[in-house]
């Protein structure tokens, strides 16, 4: 088991190996399809993309007194193309579910980034590891807005590492 503290460095990425369980603590950002479409051309992103982690999620609305609603990963393959320019800007880790294109995986290795998966459909469990949540960009997108999350021991598995490892390979 590996523990990671944000921001993520190149050394952090190199020590990740496929299949390992990772517990993340620190700040991560949410973005899915619609936010990615805007973020790639964004002149003024409200967070430092270099060294960051993006979590592919659109949470349910929280009840009063609850930090965030259910927050499990959405399928990552839909973000394959748009993730490339973000990795070129220094995006280090992506958290989602399911396999992605080979083109994505090669570009990911080239940019020294890695892809993690969290348990899909475990939105209630994962939200219990989120300490705070704040919308920082694209509020009009509702569940698809970009949120800044503080997380403690957020559980993931390494799916693609920089050494060529691929958890989905049969």
């Amino acid at each position: 088991m590996i523990t990671l503290q944000t921001p993520i460095t190149n050394e952090d990425v190199s020590k990740l190996h496929v299949g390992e369980k990772v517990l993340i603590s620190g700040t991560i950002y949410t973005a899915r399809d619609a936010a990615h479409m805007r973020l790639v051309d964004e002149k003024d992103p409200k967070f430092e993309i270099d060294g960051s982690i993006i979590f592919y999620v659109g949470p349910t609305p929280p009840r009063d007194g609850v930090v965030i609603g259910a927050s499990g990963p959405t399928s990552s393959y839909r973000m394959d193309t748009l993730a490339i320019p973000l990795m070129e800007k220094g995006l280090k880790l992506m958290i989602g579910k399911g396999d992605r294109s080979e083109d994505f995986r090669h570009k990911m290795i080239k940019n020294n980034s890695a892809y993690l998966i969290a348990t899909g459909g475990a939105g209630a469990l994962l939200s219990s590891r989120i300490i705070s949540s704040e919308v920082i960009m694209y509020e009009d997108l509702g569940p698809e807005a970009i949120r800044k999350l503080e997380v403690k021991d957020f559980p993931c598995f390494v799916a693609y590492d920089v050494h060529g490892g691929n958890i989905f390979k049969r």
Partner: protein
């Protein structure tokens, strides 16, 4: 003169008869038609969508627990633990099972002898609207393929209707996630491809979907009918009781064979490998054209949220 009186007499008799007949019919109808308030339907839908998004049915949870006991892959086993723990947290009622609280699908069987005083489709959509707001569920419906503006209340629901005998209404209500729906497939096979063709199609579809539909999955297969009928059969199949089996021997055998062969694919929970790819396979069939063998595969993720209410 006498003739005129006779005609008048006959006319009066006919009128009286028609009146008696009309009165009888109205009364008969009144006796047999059951009146149902649309608000009753709205309430059922509202309460159902909230309940299913917080609580999985017991039979599903015990299948997942059983899968966990048989799982030999460590990562797979840890994912199954997460799924079990997740439903325990959600059951407490403050956070839904999954962030994708789905698109609502309703299969409605309306008895011929029930009368709903209002628009039943509006009543269902109102239930969705209220349930998704009061239950803190995510609104995941957009209005147009390209404008993609959120309708903000998770309507409209997809509603299928059947007229049946009796004076009851049966509602099968599901919240269907997008991730697993996206991995579904309809293919028009040729009759000569037969049972082997169907098997290959199902196995390829599930293998190619990998971890995207959140395995372990429930696989619904619709065989026959035509293009749209096969898809409906597959959707109805994923709503079947988890422990039932087809009454047709050939289809029952195919369900059992596919269950084994799908798990032998080794896709595993979330695609990480392991013994648990599917929890159940359900196949529904229907007669079809001599030239056709339509096959639809509807994939349901482990977060299978549905219920059935009779009113």
């Amino acid at each position: 003169m006498q003739e005129k009186v006779n005609l008048l007499f006959i006319y009066i008799i006919i009128e009286i008869n028609m009146f008696v007949w009309y009165y009888y019919c109205v009364n008969k109808e009144g006796e047999h038609m059951r009146n149902l308030n649309p608000e009753t339907i709205t309430n059922i839908v509202k309460e159902s969508v909230i309940k299913i998004n917080y609580e999985l049915e017991d039979s599903l949870v015990s299948l997942i627990r059983k899968a966990k006991q048989n799982e030999t892959n460590n990562i797979a086993s840890s994912i199954l633990d997460d799924i079990i723990e997740n439903q325990e947290i959600a059951k407490k009622g403050s956070i839904p099972l999954c962030q994708d609280t789905g698109l609502v699908v309703v299969f409605m069987e309306i008895g011929r002898e029930v009368y709903v005083d209002g628009d039943i489709y509006d009543a269902i959509n109102e239930g969705v609207r209220l349930g998704y707001s009061e239950g803190y569920l995510r609104k995941s419906v957009v209005n147009h393929p390209f404008n993609r503006v959120n309708t903000k209340d998770n309507t409209p629901a997809i509603i299928h209707t059947k007229i049946v005998p009796g004076d009851k209404i049966k509602l099968k209500i599901a919240s269907k996630g997008g991730g697993s729906e996206n991995m579904s497939n309809v293919t028009m096979l040729t009759p000569t491809e037969g049972i082997e063709g169907v098997k290959k199609l199902v196995l390829d579809t599930i293998f190619n979907a990998g971890g995207k539909p959140c395995p372990p999955i429930i696989v619904g297969v619709g065989i026959g009918g035509n293009l749209e009928k096969s898809a409906l059969l597959a959707k109805e199949a994923i709503l079947r009781e988890l422990d039932d089996e087809s009454e047709d021997q050939t289809i029952k055998q195919l369900e059992q064979d596919l269950y084994k062969e799908i798990n032998d694919l080794g896709v595993g929970p979330m695609g990480v490998g392991g013994n648990t790819t599917c929890l159940a396979v359900k196949i529904n069939y229907f007669p079809m054209h001599i030239a056709s063998l339509p096959v639809a595969i509807n994939i349901q993720c482990h977060s299978s949220r549905h219920t059935e209410v009779i009113v």
